[in-house]
């Protein structure tokens, strides 16, 4: 249950879902660089790109708006502090809009990419730079991803069992938090030992090369554009 709540991947049939995870990640990084460094007048048209993409893939707005409330508040605060610091309305709006555009771009990435595939692809790409350490990083990311829902589910169960016994944060927060933390960590370390035994008995090798998503022509096109655009933005006088 925790996994469905935490990781927002939607199995949809659209171009974004079919793109290689690394191509999407590079596009996200490229877009973030361009939108955060663009002049104010250019930010607002640039913000249309993730917005139109979100509309095209039928992003479930309601759920994401609820979850992104913190970011919206931060964006408004950024705009207000910019105005109070003497920036004009356009600059203040641009700083808020560029921040929210990056948030929306990240949402598009996680909405269209399985977390396991993303970490495996990232590891494979990094292996060209840092060798087998890239695969080790990917393995660490995958193991971490698999443990997060287990920990959350375990914590919720433990907390509910404490509450069922009459424990309450309002009466003894310190004692309850200590007891919960020790119980939770002891239980998790028990599971970790079993996990270690299982991996060792199977001859697990974290730095072993693993299969990742293939690259197609459309992925190379996205990668080329993602590399070219920030370079062009750097040298083009209007975009500086």
């Amino acid at each position: 249950m925790a996994e469905a709540v935490i990781f927002h991947y939607r199995d949809a049939d659209n171009l974004l879902t079919r793109l290689n995870p690394n191509a999407k990640l590079l596009a996200l990084l490229s877009y973030s660089i361009v939108v955060s460094s663009a002049p104010s007048a250019v930010v607002l048209p640039l913000a249309l790109l993730p917005l139109l993409t979100a509309l095209a893939v039928h992003l479930p707005w309601r759920g994401y708006l609820r979850e992104s409330l913190f970011f919206i508040v931060i964006a408004v605060a950024m705009g207000m502090t910019a105005i109070l610091s003497g920036d004009d309305g356009l600059e203040a709006a641009a700083s808020s809009v560029s921040f929210l555009s990056m948030v929306l771009s990240s949402i598009l990435l996680t909405d269209s990419t399985m977390p396991d595939e993303l970490s495996r692809s990232l590891g494979a790409a990094l292996s060209h730079v840092i060798g087998r350490l890239g695969y080790s990083l990917a393995s660490a990311l995958e193991i971490t991803l698999s443990m997060i829902p287990l920990i959350i589910d375990g914590s919720i169960s433990m907390y509910e069992s404490y509450r069922a016994r009459g424990a309450s944060f309002s009466s003894h927060p310190l004692r309850l938090l200590c007891q919960l933390s020790v119980s939770m960590l002891s239980s998790i370390l028990d599971k970790a030992e079993m996990y270690i035994d299982a991996l060792y008995s199977r001859g697990y090798d974290a730095s072993k090369r693993r299969a990742s998503a293939p690259y197609r022509m459309r992925d190379w096109l996205v990668i080329a554009i993602s590399i070219a655009v920030p370079i062009m933005a750097l040298i083009h006088p209007y975009l500086r």
């Binding site: 925790a2 935490i6 990781f7 927002h8 990640l25 996200l28 990084l29 973030s32 955060s36 979850e67 913190f70 970011f71 931060i74 605060a77 502090t81 910019a82 109070l84 921040f99 929210l100 990056m102 948030v103 771009s105 990240s106 949402i107 990435l109 996680t110 990419t113 993303l118 970490s119 990232l122 080790s136 660490a140 990311l141 193991i143 971490t144 991803l145 443990m147 997060i148 920990i151 959350i152 914590s155 944060f169 309002s170 927060p173 310190l174 938090l177 200590c178 933390s181 020790v182 960590l185 002891s186 370390l189 970790a192 030992e193 996990y195 270690i196 991996l199 060792y200 697990y204 974290a206």
Partner: protein, 180 residues
């Protein structure tokens, strides 16, 4: 792979997962709810050797940085480079600083746990507050009012909890790492 290497791997991933899971566990408190993200970051620094503690924080930041919603405010680059990103980046020096304090005072477990938690918390704020101030263009009083004061009671609670929990958990983790 040797068993000890697998143990190191699993413990790094485990504490990264704990920090990530902590972002989802909210406890009602005054004046703001506490999330257990920084508590597990403090525990990671106090329980693991410095390199392992640093690795678990880096794995956590990489996962959140690539877009997974495992920061308190969500996920993605925007969260890391936005006004509250300093508190995330601050976990890097906190993981090393807290772990080195444990190494220095190792024989006096309770004192070491308390000092480690305090040092880790201070290091998070030493990065987080200037970052917040620079991003939002806030003067010092406003930065402290927005970025420190509301979280202080919760952080004090976390420091006390960490100093109580570490003497129980650290020997267990050390024993796991020493086992062949």
């Amino acid at each position: 792979m040797e068993r000890r290497q697998i143990t190191v791997f699993v413990l790094v991933a485990l504490f990264a997962a704990l920090i990530a899971a902590g972002a989802f566990i909210r406890i009602p408190f005054i004046p703001v709810p506490i999330t257990l993200q920084t508590l597990f970051a403090l525990l990671s620094a106090a329980v693991l050797p410095p390199l392992m503690s640093l690795s678990s924080v880096i794995v956590y930041l990489v996962l959140g940085g690539i877009g997974l919603p495992i920061f308190t405010s969500g996920g993605g680059l925007a969260a890391m480079i936005g006004p509250t990103g300093g508190y995330l980046i601050g976990m890097i020096p906190a993981s090393i600083g807290g772990s080195l304090v444990m190494k220095a005072f190792g024989s006096r477990m309770r004192l070491a746990s308390l000092l480690s938690a305090i040092v880790s918390t201070l290091l998070i704020y030493l990065v987080g507050l200037p970052w917040l101030s620079a991003q939002m263009e806030l003067p010092l009083p406003a930065t402290l009012a927005a970025g420190l004061l509301p979280f202080l009671p919760g952080d004090v609670l976390k420091i006390i909890v960490a100093s109580a929990v570490v003497p129980v958990i650290r020997p267990r983790v050390s024993e796991m790492l020493e086992r062949e």
